[in-house]
Symmetry: none
Subunit: 266 residues, 2 copies
């Protein structure tokens, strides 16, 4: 498909990309990030517990992009910001032990754009000094790194947003269909962020109840399982199967009668 | 040629790239530009008649790149800043009537890198609001534009430096720079075919025993789960976790006492 044909067909995919800034300390960076987004045609900014927002410095640094600031959604958690996304990437220079597979910025832009065909996608950026926590990273299906100087790889937050927004715009206007790492066509739509998190909660409950997981000595079992299922990028149909099995196991062990459909939308 | 082979051969060409900022108004942008340069391995900053320099705001925004500020050369004219260069590009969104031929950022990076074989090269950036004058642009062999939103194409000065420095670094590494992270992601060896098949047998046993899978009406549940786990390409460690959980669930439901290690090689 030639995405460049017709009247700015790049807009639709770009409008499905959320930029999520988690625990941003400096309002100037929020404004500069909004400006960086708008220059590349991104519009959807979400802020998780920003230190100061709204703020005059944010408005000043946003230049003409104050419309993005006005429309920005403030969330109280990363889960809230990722709600209803079908694919999320954590932007981090640090490769995590149990983190999702890493992609370089250019490859990530192509994949993110391809995933907009499934619905909402998100790019998650961490705090200026602390970055993203492992818990935040493990909520995403990929990590994204911006190739940088190994001796000094610390991009400013808004500069990182600019580079990724730029790569997304170029990918959106690419005349070739963006490459997608999926080798198997999805049989059912990707699961939503909430469905995936509810599955992990259900799995943990069964692991604890069966005595397999000792909350006092978790042995990183849950991060390892998040890594496994994150790699697979779970589909809605698969979540229903897995949770159906967990329900059957719970009923059998008289773990209390959980509604089989609990928490799964249709 | 794979420039990435050997000990960072990308440094030589990148060290031949001058970043020239002409008549910069805000010292914060000078500091942010220095930081953007250093993250991509550029080192040579030249300032033509900056409004305020040196300056505390420049130092603050440069973060760890104050060494580039200390080494920055202040010039009184663009000609002085471009002295002894063999190739110079004017970064401007506006196409000029009599200006040099325009290149998009990515193509420009490749050409600039190639020209470092001839000697010093330069990227010339104008004032934040006025941009570059025609006289300044006409001192360059090319103009460079960053593809942007036609309705709002105004990148921050340091953001534009970041995008071009990023493209230069990728070009220096033949578009395949290594991640700057050094830690190796957690991974255990891939599971053997036999381990994977034993896992599926074990999973099926639990599915049937829990009543979730009716052998008379299998509803393609097993092929769907094979597709999911096949996509993830299971590792040995993951098989052990999954089978450990299946064992715990079986023991709990008194499904008979299966040897926990049954069938898992070590």
């Amino acid at each position: 498909m030639n995405r460049a044909a017709g009247a700015d067909p790049s807009q639709l995919p770009l409008e499905r990309v959320r930029v999520v800034l988690s625990h941003t300390s400096h309002p100037g960076n929020i404004g500069a990030a909004a400006r960086a987004m708008k220059t590349m045609g991104l519009t959807r900014l979400l802020l998780v517990n920003p230190k100061r927002f709204p703020d005059d410095e944010a408005r000043a640094r946003s230049a003409g992009a104050d419309d993005l600031l006005a429309a920005a959604r403030v969330c109280s958690s990363v889960d809230e910001a990722l709600a209803d996304t079908r694919f999320a990437c954590a932007v981090t220079a640090r490769q995590r032990n149990l983190g999702p597979p890493p992609l370089a910025a250019r490859a990530a832009a192509a994949e993110i754009l391809a995933r907009t065909g499934d619905g909402e996608v998100a790019l998650l950026f961490g705090n200026e000094s602390a970055g993203l926590s492992n818990v935040e990273v493990q909520r995403c299906q990929r990590t994204v790194f911006i190739p940088a100087n190994p001796d000094y790889g610390s991009l400013n937050l808004a500069a990182a947003v600019q580079v990724l927004a730029y790569e997304l715009r170029l990918a959106a206007f690419d005349n070739d269909p963006p490459p997608c790492t999926r080798t198997v066509a999805f049989a059912s739509p990707p699961a939503s962020h909430q469905d995936i998190e509810r599955f992990y909660q259900h799995l943990e409950r069964v692991m604890v109840h069966s005595g397999f997981l000792d909350p006092q000595r978790p042995r990183r079992l849950l991060p390892k399982l998040r890594r496994l299922f994150g790699r697979a990028a779970l589909e809605r149909d698969e979540i229903n199967i897995l949770r159906g099995l967990l329900d059957a196991v719970e009923r059998q062990s008289n773990a209390g009668h959980v509604d089989r459909r609990e928490g799964i939308g249709d």
